[in-house]
């Protein structure tokens, strides 16, 4: 039986990827950011997941305004790196796990969640920056990845509660897969940030701290945060935090916090990161 053993949340700020790719990781501005992930890298090297499920959002790189799937699962064998206007990031292509992905699609759709099945998809910074933060600069990513893309760009986006319930459905699906796989699930994006308009640069440390504090013991409180509250209190792009709730939903009710890191600023954003292991 496959099992989800741990969850990782991490912001996916594109400037972090650019800093890493351009050899700026040791500059005073960026050093604290990468230092915050040193323990995480050691942890994941120890845990050695067989597969990672990465919940992220496409920033209109693979999808466009033609079709906006609310939840999509990447079932391909490979996912090339998108050119977001600067040329593709110089990181390895992402290798999928088509068998597990199709199984999750089959099981989760039977469980009333309508995933869009995607057989050809480029992946952007939303997926690759967390991989860089957790795995550094390997020649190949150390394990196959099942990408799950969530629409958090075009409103209406899914509610936190819907995301949390999807996490639970993904967990059930994984546990009915007949191969012994140890899986880590990532929820990416956030925390407070606003990239657009005259209010750009908004950060709400108190909101973020509450979110981090409640994520393990009281996710049910977080799933009730409305779209309007995210927008008003934490900035227009903070809605990405609903993806952390998919990760949380896929874990045990009781989890152990392994590591936490919070840093302002990373470009326009409050960078948040937390690792949980299942406790049953």
């Amino acid at each position: 039986m496959a099992r989800i053993i741990a969850g990782v949340a991490a912001s996916h700020i594109p400037a972090v990827g650019a800093a890493w790719d351009n050899g700026k990781a040791d500059e005073p501005y960026w050093r604290p950011v990468f230092k915050g992930f040193e323990r995480s890298k050691e942890w994941i090297a120890r845990v050695k997941p067989d597969v990672c499920i990465v919940v992220y959002n496409d920033h209109m790189s693979a999808f466009s305004l033609e079709i906006v799937p609310t939840f999509a699962i990447g079932c391909a064998a490979e996912f090339p790196i998108a050119d977001e206007g600067w040329g593709p990031r110089p990181v390895p292509d992402v290798v999928g796990h088509p068998e597990l992905a199709s199984h999750i699609a089959q099981a989760v759709i039977q469980d009333d969640f309508d995933l869009t099945i995607v057989n050809r998809m480029e992946v952007d910074h939303g997926l690759t920056v967390p991989l860089t933060l957790m795995f550094g600069k390997p020649k190949e990513w150390p394990c196959p990845i099942v990408p799950i893309a969530v629409n958090v760009v075009v409103y209406p986006v899914p509610t936190g509660n819907r995301c949390y319930m999807l996490g639970k459905a993904i967990r059930k699906a994984v546990e009915s897969f007949d191969k012994d796989l140890r899986i880590v699930i990532f929820g990416t994006g956030g925390m407070s940030h606003q990239l657009q308009g005259p209010r750009a640069g908004l950060i709400n440390r108190a909101f973020d701290t509450r979110f981090l504090d409640n994520l393990a013991p009281d996710p049910e409180a977080l799933v009730r945060i409305s779209h309007l509250e995210y927008l008003r209190e934490a900035g227009s792009e903070a809605i990405e935090l609903v993806m952390w709730l998919i990760m949380r939903g896929a874990l045990d009710d009781r989890v152990k916090e392994i590591h936490r890191f919070y840093h302002v600023p990373a470009s326009n954003t409050a960078l948040g990161h937390i690792i949980f292991e299942n406790m049953a």
């Binding site: 594109p14 400037a15 650019a18 920033h59 209109m60 790189s61 466009s64 305004l65 033609e66 906006v68 998108a82 050119d83 977001e84 206007g85 600067w86 040329g87 760009v153 075009v154 409103y155 209406p156 407070s192 606003q194 990239l195 657009q196 308009g197 005259p198 209010r199 750009a200 640069g201 908004l202 950060i203 709400n204 440390r205 108190a206 909101f207 779209h227 309007l228 927008l231 008003r232 209190e233 934490a234 227009s236 792009e237 302002v264 600023p265 470009s267 326009n268 409050a270």
Partner: protein, 132 residues
């Protein structure tokens, strides 16, 4: 009857919903075309001619030609699309964020280092009005 939009009260924020997506469809799809190097080159060679391939309004085209980053959002643009235009210009997210919020690069970067734009006083249009 359309539902009232509660988020109209948010200050300095355009919520990109299905109505905005329809209004800005061609503007955003133009931005998306800049993900290909040959299209970036063609756009840079003759911006106006390149833009005329999209059935956008004249106001939308002018907002792009003038790099009116807030104007593009007001006319249906979305930041993740306009960021591809910024990348084509060699600008980062932080550089356009400074422009959109009316700061110099230096002021904006310093504000972020001090912890970002505070939430106090930035929750609603009413709060912005009070501040004047």
């Amino acid at each position: 009857m359309p539902l009232p939009k509660q988020y109209d009260d948010l200050p300095g924020t355009v919520v990109f919903d299905a109505d905005r997506a329809r209004e800005g469809y061609h503007l955003n799809m133009f931005c998306m075309s800049l993900m290909k190097p040959e299209n970036r080159a063609a756009f840079k060679a003759n911006e106006r001619a390149y833009l005329d391939q999209w059935p956008m309004t004249e106001a939308q085209k002018q907002s792009i030609l003038g790099r009116d980053w807030n104007g593009m959002l007001q006319l249906g643009g979305n930041i993740y699309f306009t960021a591809k235009l910024a990348a084509t210009d060699g600008l980062s997210f932080q550089q356009i964020a400074a422009m959109m919020s009316g700061s110099t690069q230096e002021e904006y970067a310093q504000m972020m280092i001090r912890g970002g734009r505070p939430i106090e006083g930035n929750r609603s249009k009413a709060e912005w009005k009070k501040r004047g």
